[in-house]
């Protein structure tokens, strides 16, 4: 119970700190929403009126107190560009981002586990060299560049692959939630699911490749280290096959550093959606964040940063729990 209270308290304090930093920074950097919407001919009077209308005529501390008071009631204010409540916008766009991240993570994990296990199982220099080379390449190229490469590749080799949006805008899609992929899977609408995957696969791949490379390097190293341990030699003397030993003995111990790395990388992955979503016109929170920044939509930027911060915190907490589950020493330690 005490641990839970401490955790909740630390989450609250972190979010409060993030809110202060982002609120102050946004108001100190040049460029404000009023300047963005002032047309030719606008007088100082017009500017003052708009500042009053958007609450920017007050001091920064006063603005912060008003904003924080509203946030306590889950009112993050109105977006100046979308003219809708910030919370509504975030809840509307977040599912698209989470599904993209989920798919990218899945791709990364499948690739990483497959290549790592293959390399350790085969124990051949050529295979190891090839896998290391591929991982190096995947990691050296940042996600946004992968996106560009895929877009160009589509033009040349795969014109049927879409490069924008979540689904074909010429078709009407009926969903009860904004978790289109999950909903279509749960409701067994496989045709819709396949269409959604087709649209998601390129952005997810662009996002997931660098992550796959990072996990491959760590997992492969950890597996190789585990394979040199005494208990592996014991298993070998029992006549188990190498693949069975890799999967049954070494993999469990190799999971611990992999979980730690994956959780850290996952936060980068969410950050990476900002560019990838824009490149693929993916209607998630990342592309919304970019347009909010370009248009100096202060309430929306503040809301998105807080949500990102909360997601990062939750990922860290989840990874801690996974770490504890994977490592029995941590469960008994006080």
């Amino acid at each position: 119970m005490a641990r839970l209270l401490v955790t909740i308290g630390s989450i609250f304090l972190t979010l409060l700190g993030v809110s202060v930093v982002i609120f102050v920074i946004l108001r100190l950097v040049p460029g404000d929403p009023i300047s963005m919407m002032l047309p030719p001919g606008a007088t100082d009077e017009v500017r003052a009126n708009l500042e009053r209308l958007y609450g920017l005529d007050k001091s920064i501390p006063a603005q912060y107190v008003i904003w924080l008071r509203n946030v306590a009631w889950l009112d993050f204010g109105m977006s100046t560009q979308f003219r809708l409540p910030v919370m509504e916008i975030i809840l509307d766009r977040l599912p698209a981002t989470l599904e993209l991240v989920l798919l990218a993570s899945l791709i990364a994990l499948v690739l990483a586990f497959a290549f790592s296990i293959l390399a350790v199982w085969l124990q051949e220099d050529s295979a190891t060299l090839a896998i290391d080379g591929l991982a190096g390449l995947a990691q050296a190229i940042p996600d946004f560049l992968w996106a560009l490469i895929f877009i160009l590749a589509v033009t040349l080799f795969a014109p049927m692959m879409p490069v924008s949006g979540r689904f074909d805008p010429r078709t009407a899609q009926e969903f009860a939630t904004n978790f289109y992929l999950l909903e279509s899977l749960v409701t067994l609408r496989l045709d819709a699911f396949a269409e959604l995957v087709r649209y998601a696969v390129l952005p997810a791949l662009a996002l997931g490749l660098p992550l796959a490379a990072g996990i491959t390097r760590v997992l492969k190293g950890a597996l190789e280290e585990a394979m040199a341990q005494d208990y592996v030699m014991l298993a070998q003397t029992k006549g188990k096959s190498r693949l069975a030993i890799v999967l049954g003995e070494a993999l469990r111990n190799a999971m611990i550093p992999t979980i730690a790395l994956t959780s850290v990388q996952l936060t980068f992955l969410i950050g990476g959606t900002v560019l990838i979503e824009r490149q693929f016109s993916w209607p998630g929170i990342g592309s919304t964040a970019i347009s909010a920044v370009i248009n100096r939509d202060l309430p929306l930027i503040q809301g998105i940063v807080l949500v990102f911060a909360l997601i990062f915190i939750l990922i860290n907490l989840a990874s801690n729990e996974l770490y504890r589950a994977a490592d029995p020493r941590l469960r008994t330690a006080r």
Binding site: P40, A42, T43, S79, F82, F193, A194, N295
Partner: protein
Amino acid sequence: MKKLLGLLAGTALATNVAFADDSTLTIAYNVSLPSWDATVGVSAVNPTIQSIYKSVYDQYIDQNPDLSFRPGLLTEWGWNEDRSKVFMVVREGASWHDGAPVTPADVVWSLERAGKEETGNPIQFLWSTLGNFTVDGNRIEADVLRFDPTIFKWMAFLTAYVLPKDYYTEVGAEGFEKAPIGSGPYVVDEYVANSFVRLKRYDGYWGDAPEFETVIFKFLPDASARVAEVETGASDITLEIPYEEYDRLAAKDGLNGVTTPVSDIGMIFINDVGVMEDANVRKAAAHAINKDLIVDRLLRGYGVPIDTLQAPQYAAFTAETTVAYDPEKSKELLAASGYSPDNPVKFKIQTTRGFKPKDYEMIQAVTGMWKRVGIEAEIEVYEIAKHFDLRARDALAPAAFYNWGNSIGDPSTSTGFSMFGPSPHSTWDTEDVDAMIGPLWGEEDEDARIAGYQRVDAYIAENAMVIPLLQFVQPIIYRDGLSVTPHVANFLLPQNVSSN
């Protein structure tokens, strides 16, 4: 798994079949639409979004592709003799997308709403110049509270859209954002923010019925994605792609291209501070720039060099005012102020990078040309939001690159607002220019007003108080079988696209 793979293949096939649908026009568009209220907020003054607004809403007054004005929801308009009143006649037979008729009450409500401070219309200062509206049949009269000779031109410009009074009042601002209706040629069918909007032809539209039953604007801010869309056939038409890509795609089988000089110019703001107070330095900077070379080499010929803030399609354009490219004269001017290539005058120039085609490269070229005559300019890259902020505070560097749109082509919305000292958009604040522009704000004689601005432009050019560079060109790529009428106002209107 097999079934899933089969479905994947099947979907791909279905999509390819859908490409051949002639009743749908898919546009790979360069900006995203954030808000459906075309009269309030940031997007209301974003010129690039107006194409979508103009597909759904009607303006009071419309514009032809050459910028000339034509009736919109108003069929007649004008002032009385002493300019104390205006009249407007509302079109009969126009209706909202819910079937209700467009009435004079809608027009009055839209104008009154736009003129109220609390609405947040960024052009409120202009709409509030009219008041005390009266309606007689389809004719509206209003008092001119403050005379502005451009009020009717503004009725074809930013935020000048007529919204449905009853519907808006009933659903409120948030309800309108979620389910907007207008009286334009297309109805909003589905909108996914940051992704696409699907429009359906409105059969009750008062004007010529557009050809395409369905129009999809895909929001693709990334130019490479727009190129891929049109090259793979996923979109029928796109715009604002790099000129190199334009040349490549236009030469490709199955695709065509059209370019048009548009109402958007590239210019260097001069701030009257420090060395820029020296006329010799300013004039030298202006004469040292070879605009033809910039257009030819950097923009592959897609640009029109200009010497005033008026593009050739604007009302106050005159070919008589020119600024010659003359580097020797620049050297002489600088020498008169004690500068030379060995002892250059130094100042900072700000520019965006990637906001407009080759903006940074153009300024690099300009500074290179300046260096040869004795001007050493340090380039500072800023983002557009910072430019707006600095300009509003009159804190721009001595020189600053910017683009200036003016789709109604009036000199007040180019030279007027950018060079008149009291305007928050001006970085040049001197009494001589203010004294010339000041009386033109209220000039009732249109010919005298235009001639007045031409004199101002000539004076500004002679003294190099701003350095106009070029008029931008809009590149459009479209598939075979389509015919596209480009619009000088930088619009890409689906109602101006037809099949051959």
